[in-house]
């Protein structure tokens, strides 16, 4: 599903350049649930943002579902993000003036679906994350865990090929973290390919495979015995 080879990324700051990703290679198959581990500043988010086409690598190849992601115009990148990728962020990134239902329906709007269809689908996904009763609530009226579940519903609603989650439990306490991870496992069980960035080993162990980054290179890539929730 995802195949990257020799991926490099540097941040230029004035005359300095910070080499963050120094040649990353891996292959992720359909239906995998992969944790990307590493200490703070090791380049996890940078990698995930490149995979999510929110940012661009300096060097290397990236194949998403056998499509080469390179030199895309912003319009095409937007289209691919919309159809292939779902995002879950540490800080939720819900639109604060839209209620849960409208937030979930937003990617469907950019898919060009009719309003009726959007509403139906959004409700369906809210139900899946157990928030049907909260559909009309604004993000400010939801708890952290609820917000993250709305964000997951939103990421799933567009039926992406891959779900990318950057520290989805980073802002949550351990109980809510488990709830969210349980939801992610459930979605994975339905066959979705998922990448989860985390620096907590407990969270990583709830995945099926752990890739560990250090100083911009992969130091470990191994299958793990998944802790099922």
């Amino acid at each position: 599903m995802i195949q990257i080879s020799n991926l490099h990324k540097s941040y230029k700051m004035g005359s300095n350049s910070l080499h963050v990703l120094k040649g990353i290679n891996f292959k992720i198959d359909e239906g995998e649930l992969v944790a990307i581990m590493g200490s703070s500043g090791s380049g996890k988010s940078t990698l995930l943002n490149i995979l999510g086409m929110l940012d661009i690598a300096d060097e290397g190849n990236y194949l998403l579902d056998n499509v080469l992601i390179k030199d895309l115009t912003e319009t095409i990148a937007a289209n691919y993000r919309n159809r292939f990728l779902g995002f879950v962020f540490q800080s939720f990134n819900l639109i604060n003036y839209k209620n849960a239902l409208e937030n979930v329906a937003l990617p469907l709007y950019y898919q060009g679906l009719r309003r009726k269809t959007r509403q139906q689908k959004a409700l369906e996904y809210l139900k899946k994350v157990g928030l049907l009763d909260w559909a009309k609530h604004l993000p400010s009226e939801l708890s952290g865990g609820q917000k993250q579940r709305v964000a997951i519903a939103r990421a799933m609603a567009s039926e992406p090929k891959v779900l990318l989650a950057d520290e989805p439990t980073g802002a949550l306490d351990s109980n809510t973290s488990r709830e969210v991870m349980s939801l992610i496992q459930k979605i994975n069980d339905e066959g979705k390919t998922i990448l989860v960035v985390t620096h907590e080993i407990d969270i990583a162990k709830m995945c099926k495979r752990i890739i560990t980054l250090k100083d911009g290179v992969i130091i470990e890539d191994k299958k793990t015995d998944q802790i099922l929730l």
């Binding site: 943002n49 940012d55 661009i56 319009t75 937007a78 993000r81 919309n82 990134n93 839209k98 939103r154």
Partner: protein, 409 residues
């Protein structure tokens, strides 16, 4: 670009971001409102100006006799020149080519009495042509006519305020007012746009006045109106020839500047028109200034609005919004708000102006108005430049990398 869905999305955004909507809407509405009011006031000023200065006939020459300053052909200097009835006839006979109307004027201040009440008024003894020259408007009855002149009748036409002072609610028509020894019959009431002073006058046949003054044939002034089609150059020629004619008739040194005075209104009219157009330019300047201020205001707000939404735009991009849809969203929203509030400000402004009407007349603002074309163009300009002002930051926001936009706090 204008699907129903997109409008729904826009309405939703507008509805849920009231502060933003009110802020930009208010700026535009206020801009247009102030523009309409200022422009309207400017036009009101112009109106009062025109009423003050342009309501008398513009094609007149005023002749005043003076006192000579030079000895000439056996006459000593310091000789008082006088006009008499023969001068009127001479002008009529010698200047038919130029002449339109002619009237003498004899001014006196006298006591008018009615039912024991007395008051002093200015009384003008004139010929019927005076009505044209002064643009006197008859409200009731008639002006002095030729029959009054020929028969030296004791008929008078009185100003609106004279009628008000003397007769209060009574109908003045046909009533008799005492002037000096004799009683005069009111045959008409007039009004005059030049103001109160002109409406506190009484008109009398000039032949009657001469009869009252020992049957002389003296005249204070002569007012001559000339054919409009002569234009400015023709008027100057007429003035010159008339001056030469009178100087030779009254035996005044041609170089003597004080024996005879001629006032030519065309020069004044030209000045007034120049003043009026200066006023027009100032009005336009103020209007354009207001518009520019409005445009700058809405531009600032658009920059602020887009900046405030950077993160939201980043989220939308991460969810699949392409740059065009981002620009279209911001633009449609801003055009929608500016159009609505622009029209709102326009209507309020026009409504205010029409309510003011002549309430500000004492401040020389009379019937303030804005013609609809100017108002519409101004509104359109503000909307148009508001859109352009929105387009630039929208375009910039659309081209920010989503990851940068998402980092915005």
């Amino acid at each position: 670009m204008f699907s129903r869905d997109q409008w729904q999305e826009i309405f939703e955004t507008i509805r849920k971001n009231k502060l933003r909507t009110i802020l930009s809407g208010f700026t535009v509405a206020l801009g247009i409102f102030i523009f309409i009011i200022l422009f309207g006031f400017g036009n009101g000023l112009k109106n009062s100006f025109e009423q003050f200065f342009l309501d008398d006939a513009t094609n007149t020459l005023w002749l005043y006799p003076g006192v000579t300053s030079k000895a000439y052909q056996g006459f000593k200097d310091n000789r008082r020149i006088e006009f008499e009835n023969s001068d009127l006839i001479d002008i009529k006979e010698n200047f038919t080519f130029f002449l339109e109307n002619i009237t003498p004027r004899i001014n006196r201040r006298e006591v008018l009495s009615y039912k024991g009440q007395s008051n002093i008024y200015n009384i003008r003894a004139v010929a019927p042509a005076h009505q044209n020259v002064e643009k006197t408007i008859i409200m009731k009855g008639r002006f002095i006519n030729q029959k009054d002149i020929d028969e030296r009748t004791k008929n008078i036409t009185i100003g609106r305020l004279v009628a008000q002072d003397i007769f209060k609610k009574e109908d003045p028509m046909g009533k008799y007012i005492e002037i000096g020894e004799s009683a005069f019959k009111v045959v008409g009431v007039f009004q005059d746009k030049s103001g109160d002073r002109e409406e506190r006058l009484v008109y009398l046949p000039y032949t009657t006045r001469q009869l009252m003054e020992k049957n002389n044939d003296k005249i204070d002034q002569i007012i001559v109106s000339f054919k409009q089609e002569l234009g400015y150059v023709g008027a100057l020629a007429f003035e010159k020839q008339l001056g030469d004619f009178f100087k030779s008739k009254k035996v005044i040194d041609p170089t003597d500047k004080s024996g005879l005075y001629i006032r030519n209104t065309t020069e004044r009219v030209r000045q007034n028109q120049r003043f009026a157009s200066t006023l027009q330019i100032i009005v336009a300047f103020v209007g354009i200034g207001t518009l520019i201020a409005g445009i700058i205001g809405i531009s600032n707000i658009m920059v602020f609005v887009v900046k405030e939404r950077t993160k939201e735009l980043g989220i939308r991009k991460a969810l699949g919004a392409n740059p065009i849809s981002i620009v279209a969203m911001i633009l449609n929203e801003s055009i929608f708000i500016t159009t609505l509030s622009g029209i709102f400000g326009l209507l309020i402004g026009i409504f205010m102006l029409s309510r003011l009407d002549d309430q500000l007349e004492q401040y020389f603002i009379l019937d303030p108005y804005v013609d609809s074309l100017t108002a519409l163009i101004a509104t359109f300009l503000l909307i148009f430049f508001g859109a352009i002002a929105g387009f630039i930051p929208a375009k910039r926001a659309a081209s920010i990398k989503p990851i940068v936009a998402l980092r915005d706090e």
